[in-house]
């Protein structure tokens, strides 16, 4: 990313400080460098292709740089491209553990040819404890974080009273070594056992060639010492949601006694179900393999530790720069660290895809670790695809079992579900994923009783992490296929069964939190009911049958929450001297289009779209003057406090959260600087927003009589009169926005922000202003888990070749509630990408666990099959006889300030159950093991 001064001059950097072991470490976000004279791939002046019509995106703002092959991604850079770096680049290669049964004894490189010998080898016993097992801080979701804090406190209490505190069941403190110490049994497959460093590209390449697919030749293992933690234990915390009508739920119970009360309410649920013999009980089970996000750019990055200045320089493409840097700092957070670290400079690149797989990825740590052992030389760590399959974060494989109960009038009475996620080796974000899966276990329905338990267990497999859907893909699949079975066994119409149980405003989720947002599920089902794909499905079936094809139609709903239990965002809007606008955001654009969206949503407010959008500016938070420290429990009474600074970037955070923040910052600029400047130019009384409007990029007074003011003229006055030239806003959302009043040059301004700072015209750092009359969300609502939702109804039409077991998805209908749509092309593109990914992991993507799977280092796209164009319906309408995917988005809400909804994974999550339901419709057989391969279909059909 590039950060420029408000005046549009030379690139500047933004800086914040993180405290580490009592000393402040300066963090700087750098711009993508200009090319060295030798570079022939041009510089990425990315995020500078603004769209001309205010509020409308004509193309991606990052599009031109990408489509012309400029240096955009971390993989594109070498040390020679980085100004001021030494050109002597080293190359890092980690060897991956091959077993969790035996102790790793060491490596044997004697069979490597001389030209392939590494310059340096680092084993786990050479690392200091802090480097080997840094104290990772994986915060993702405030309501889970609170539970972790509660468990920590309970553990400390037990320890102080001499009780047995256990160890592994509280693996928040369990930190597997980054590199296995010789003599120890690896904790999981793929865990690094050695770091090899090469001082030449030729040596590195030679070693890779020699070692490819031949790992056992270079690693030595002895007998297991069995001192590792037992596999199969659950990572902490596990999630239990028990709800009994209005009488008991996670959200409403006393947090201190909730778990103690759970057993008695589970008994009440069982007693209630047993007491009513008319209830229809529908047991279910489902399972799915782990899935690779398969983002196109394998992880890569550069590190250089300038030992003279105790500064670490990083080039990375990550979804979580904030967490990654904090965790890297923790590696140096000890007196025995190899270097004292005074500063970190991060060049934050656009990732080549993410899907959650770059959120809290271990890659950043492994890169930073390599930098400590290269003798002060820059190091490049670049996975190839085999590496990426071997160690990259996966979506969890899962087993789900449970039971639905409904009364004879089609009313759901209870859901019971146990969700077991294969967390793999590292804890990562697995407990958070399992927890959201537990919320999704209630589907899109109002259900009086719930008994849901979710856990992620430690296994030898490749680590699971955040991935698109975050627990939703697993839970919705189990629920929606079970619901369809319930309908089928009772002879109920699958749509009407769903319509009879829809969650609406005023209901509560299985967590017990209230639904306070209009979901419009009934309207969406009504639309679905009338569409030919659903309404004429029997006629269509007959048409296919006449052609000898086995055809089925399936329906499924998803209710994907967006955001977390509490989200903080920061954004700035800057008016440059030439009248152009720049937006900066802490968010990272993984391809989801947030840079484009944030550039155009200010258009209606400021009369023009951003000419430049800078992403990944997470250090902006350090300039807001806000803190998350609250030792005295003042919360919002402390004018400098906020509940959360910033978090990882996920696509679902754009449409509501990030857009809101940048629009509020734009409002502050408009009312705090532009209107006062206009009043100065025009003369006369103070102006209000109602007095003016934008016409063709110029501000006009509605009453007339004064000349229009182009932004450039307004900028001239703003700079000359030393009005704010930019605003920096921080927002916090937790069921509602934190709101406050802020002093501005135009008087006090009420905003849905909890932090505001003004940029002075001289290019210096923004100056925070003190908020007043703050109203913020109370802490109780954190236990609702989620508050805002992006519902989607999917209908899938498919044909099955019963002789080969192959399935072809013919048509998909998606009815989506996306709220206010900011960039229609991005919404439909996100939907189309979700349909393709869903088809892919439902029917194609198959990856076994253990050493048969990617941990053996031999997996790539030749055996892990992804959906290609021919697997996906490519038309965008429904035409009988053709293959298409039709997206129907609900009309924008009739509200004064309609908001967008984060729809990143909304469409994807209900496609797989709709496919399974269509298969049942076609064949009469239920398939609940993903992927549904031709072999499974043939087996199910008894062939």
């Amino acid at each position: 990313m590039t950060l420029r001064s408000p005046a549009g001059g030379a690139a500047v950097t933004r800086r914040m400080f993180l405290t580490s072991t009592g000393s402040a470490v300066a963090l700087t976000v750098m711009g993508v460098p200009l090319p060295s004279p030798a570079a022939t791939s041009g510089p990425a002046d990315i995020g500078t292709d603004g769209s001309p019509v205010p509020g409308v995106a004509s193309q991606r703002i990052d599009g031109l740089a990408k489509v012309t092959g400029q240096k955009v991604y971390a993989r594109d850079f070498n040390a020679r491209d980085m100004p001021g770096w030494p050109a002597t680049q080293w190359y890092a290669l980690y060897l991956a553990a091959l077993t969790t049964d035996r102790a790793f004894e060491g490596i044997d490189l004697s069979s490597l040819p001389p030209e392939a010998q590494p310059t340096r080898v680092v084993l786990g016993n050479e690392l200091s404890p802090a480097m080997r097992a840094p104290q990772l801080n994986l915060n993702r979701d405030l309501h889970i974080d609170d539970r972790i804090a509660e468990e920590r406190a309970a553990r400390l209490k037990a320890r102080n009273s001499g009780g047995d505190v256990g160890s592994f069941n509280l693996p928040d403190e369990l930190l597997f070594d980054l590199i296995v110490v010789p003599g120890n049994v690896p904790n999981f497959l793929g865990q690094a056992v050695a770091l090899l460093l090469f001082d030449s590209l030729a040596g590195y390449r030679a070693a890779r060639r020699a070692m490819a697919f031949n790992d056992p030749a270079y690693q030595r293992y002895g007998a297991g010492n069995q001192d590792g933690p037992p596999l199969g234990s659950a990572f902490s915390p596990q999630t239990t949601y028990v709800k009994y009508g209005d009488q008991f739920s996670y959200a409403t119970a006393d947090p201190d006694t909730y778990m103690a009360q759970v057993p008695q309410w589970q008994d009440r649920i069982n007693d209630t179900l047993a007491a009513d013999p008319t209830l229809i009980r529908q047991p279910f089970s489902a399972e799915m393999r782990a899935m690779d996000p398969m983002f196109m750019e394998p992880e890569a990055g550069l590190v250089w530790i300038d030992t003279g200045l105790d500064t670490m320089h990083l080039v990375l493409g990550t979804q979580s720069p904030d967490g990654d840097i904090a965790n890297i700092l923790s590696m140096y957070d000890s007196t025995d660290a190899p270097f004292p670290l005074k500063a970190v400079n991060l060049t934050s690149c656009y990732p080549g895809g993410g899907f959650g797989g770059r959120d809290s990825s271990p890659f950043s740590l492994m890169l930073a670790l390599a930098g400590a052992y290269s003798g002060g030389n820059p190091v490049r760590l670049a996975h190839d695809r085999f590496d990426q399959f071997r160690v990259g974060l996966k979506r969890h494989g899962a087993d789900l079992t449970g039971e639905l109960a409904a009364d004879p009038d089609m009313r759901l009475q209870s859901v019971q579900m146990t969700l077991t996620f294969d967390g793999g080796g590292r804890r990562n974000l697995s407990p958070y994923v399992a927890s959201l899966g537990a919320l999704c276990a209630g589907g899109s329905y109002t259900i009086p009783m719930a008994n849901i338990y979710a856990e992620a267990v430690h296994t030898q497999n490749v680590s699971g992490g955040s991935q698109r859907g975050f627990g939703g893909p697993q839970a919705f699949f189990a629920f929606e296929t079970a619901l369809d079975d319930l309908a089928a066994t009772q002879g109920w119409d699958p749509l009407e069964l769903r319509a009879a149980n829809l969650l609406t405003e005023g209901d509560t989720t299985v967590v017990g939190g209230p639904v306070e947002q209009s979901l419009s599920l009934a309207e969406m089902l009504e639309i679905t009911r009338s569409q030919p794909l659903w309404a004429e499905r029997e006629t269509i079936r007959q048409d296919y049958a006449a052609r000898g094809l086995t055809y089925g139609t399936g329906l499924a709903l998803s209710l994907q929450a967006y955001g977390t239990s509490g989200d903080g965002m920061v954004a700035s809007v800057l008016l440059n001297r030439d009248g152009s606008l720049t937006v900066q955001s802490d968010a990272v654009d993984m391809g989801n289009g947030s840079a484009t969206t944030l550039g155009v949503v200010i258009g209606p407010i400021l009369g023009a779209n951003a000419a430049q959008v800078d992403m990944g500016c997470y250090t902006l938070f350090g300039m807001t003057g806000l803190t998350t420290s609250d030792p005295e429990g003042q919360r919002w009474d402390n004018p400098n406090w906020t509940a959360k600074s910033v978090g990882s970037s996920s696509a679902c955070l754009t449409a509501l959260h990030q857009v809101h923040t940048v629009q509020q910052a734009a409002q502050a600029l408009f009312q705090g600087a532009i209107l006062p400047a206009a009043a100065l130019i025009w003369g006369g009384a103070r102006l209000t927003p109602a007095d003016v409007s934008w016409q063709e990029g110029a501000l006009v007074r509605n009453a007339g009589g004064v000349p229009p003011l182009p932004l450039a003229q307004l900028a001239e006055t703003i700079y000359a009169r030393k009005l704010p030239v930019g605003t920096l806003g921080h927002a916090y959302f937790q069921d509602s926005w934190a709101e406050a009043s802020f002093p501005t040059p135009a008087g006090f301004l009420s905003l849905q922000l909890d932090g505001l700072a003004f940029y002075p015209p001289d290019g210096s750092a923004p100056v925070p202003v003190t908020r007043q009359d703050t109203v913020g969300p109370d802490s109780a609502s954190k236990r609702y888990s989620r508050y805002v939702w992006a519902p989607c109804v999917n209908v899938v039409e498919l044909t099955v070749d019963t002789s080969s077991g192959t399935v072809q998805v013919e048509n998909v209908l998606s009815v989506l509630n996306a709220g206010q749509i900011h960039v229609p092309q991005l919404v439909s593109g996100q939907s189309q990408g979700g349909v393709a990914m869903a088809i892919s992991y439902t029917l194609l993507e198959d990856m076994p666990p253990g050493m048969e799977g990617p941990a053996n280092g031999m997996w790539n796209l030749n055996r892990y099959h992804l959906a290609r164009a021919q697997d996906v319906p490519l038309r965008t309408d429904y035409t009988p006889g053709a293959r298409g995917q039709q997206l129907i988005a609900l009309p924008p809400p009739q509200e004064e300030a309609p908001a967008g909804r984060g729809i990143a994974e909304a469409v994807m999550c209900s496609v797989p159950p709709a496919i399974s339901n269509a298969l049942r419709d076609a064949t009469g057989k239920r398939f609940t093991s993903l992927p549904i391969t031709p072999a499974k279909i043939l087996e199910g059909l008894g062939q």
Partner: protein
């Protein structure tokens, strides 16, 4: 020696380089990183470049991750860096931009190169219009895109294909 031309510049390479992959030569020697490395085994086609080799002047798509330099003696290679003219995108690139055809963009250079070769082929040898969809699938249907689900790439390319097939101007 291996004689190879990349984006109009001629290079003479020692025979010892004959086993090196084209993509590594582009990245490491020439710092042309617009050609993307993804799977490295020739499946995803993100690394597609355009190669012409006498006596056949017609360019063909080549998977640079799986092509040894030794097989390219006498060839002319064009990469994504050669496509835009003075920063102005060519019609394929512009169509992909206008249609929001890509998201992360990592697969895009490969799609651009394959699409250009496809359009050149249509111009040289038009086909019945009802075969265009099948020909498009043949040309770019094996490329993997993980973000956008292919729909918008095909939507963007279709008008260009129809125009090229009808004798439209060269790119």
């Amino acid at each position: 020696m291996i004689a190879i031309t990349v984006n109009g510049t001629a290079y003479q390479l020692d025979d010892s380089r004959s086993g090196d992959r084209l993509i590594d030569f582009l990245h490491d020697d020439l710092n042309l990183t617009g050609t993307k490395f993804c799977c490295g085994i020739g499946v995803c086609r993100a690394c597609t470049v355009q190669v012409s080799k006498p006596p056949n002047p017609a360019p063909s798509p080549v998977i640079s991750c799986s092509t040894a330099l030794g097989t390219l003696d006498g060839s002319e290679v064009s990469t994504i860096e050669s496509v835009a003219n003075g920063g102005v995108p060519d019609p394929v690139q512009q169509a992909f931009l206008d249609n929001f055809a890509f998201q992360c963009g990592y697969c895009t250079p490969g799609f651009v190169m394959a699409a250009r070769i496809f359009l050149d082929g249509l111009r040289a040898q038009p086909i019945p219009e009802d075969e265009i969809d099948g020909a498009m699938m043949e040309a770019i249907g094996s490329h993997i895109c993980r973000c956008t689900g292919y729909v918008r790439y095909f939507e963007a390319l279709k008008p260009l294909a129809l125009a090229a097939n009808a004798g439209g101007a060269e790119l």
